[in-house]
Symmetry: C2
Subunit: 140 residues, 2 copies
Amino acid sequence: MTLPMNRVTFITLGVRDLARARAFYEALGWTPESATEDVAFYAMNGSKFGLFSLAGLARETGRDVAGLQTGAMTLAQNQGSQDDVDAMFARAVAAGATPVTKPFKTDWGGYSSYVADPDGHHWEYAYNPFSPLDDEGHIA
Amino acid sequence: MTLPMNRVTFITLGVRDLARARAFYEALGWTPESATEDVAFYAMNGSKFGLFSLAGLARETGRDVAGLQTGAMTLAQNQGSQDDVDAMFARAVAAGATPVTKPFKTDWGGYSSYVADPDGHHWEYAYNPFSPLDDEGHIA
């Protein structure tokens, strides 16, 4: 079976405190599919989002926790309007995210904002008027 | 419009040298959808994978490049068999990835491996016999 290469099956974020991380994402409305003491998974569109204890991730990859850093990666969740970007940014900050970039008009004609989750993982909440979302929130 | 929360629209990796990063991913078979001098996008299943210059990412988020680190996140691309995991691991290393964890039998009954891309972003190539892939490589 030859599968397409343009695929990501799991996006897994290493987190210092899984209970805290779960509380943050679930306060935003993320619905878990399964969870153990070490890991939680959230089903998406043919792929999954995961939260994995940093200790578990370090063990699995033979690294020190101190070597597992953040910042050079962003996950974006596009929204249906500028107002929805403002609302998601506020909702994330209320749930414990750190504001990184307040909602602003981008040079590509969109509207964007950035927050960091409790472990420093960056999320962009954006609206792109040139890239509509279907009813499930997916882009073409 | 109320959209599902369990969504990621873009996975964007910050990279020091976009040409080098593109060469790595495209050697693996990733097919770009669009690219500029600063960013390249790869269409997936209702979402996109992106490579963004670290300088551009730092500018957009008002951070120093030095503060944009890696390691506490993994992207996994599941494969159709153990042999395919071995083949992808070898192919990634041949394309310039750093081996992190050679293919091994996991405690959950699967088969996994980890590499780091030229910028230190971790990828897992895994086979999960309990989570079959459809013809497009997506999981249920």
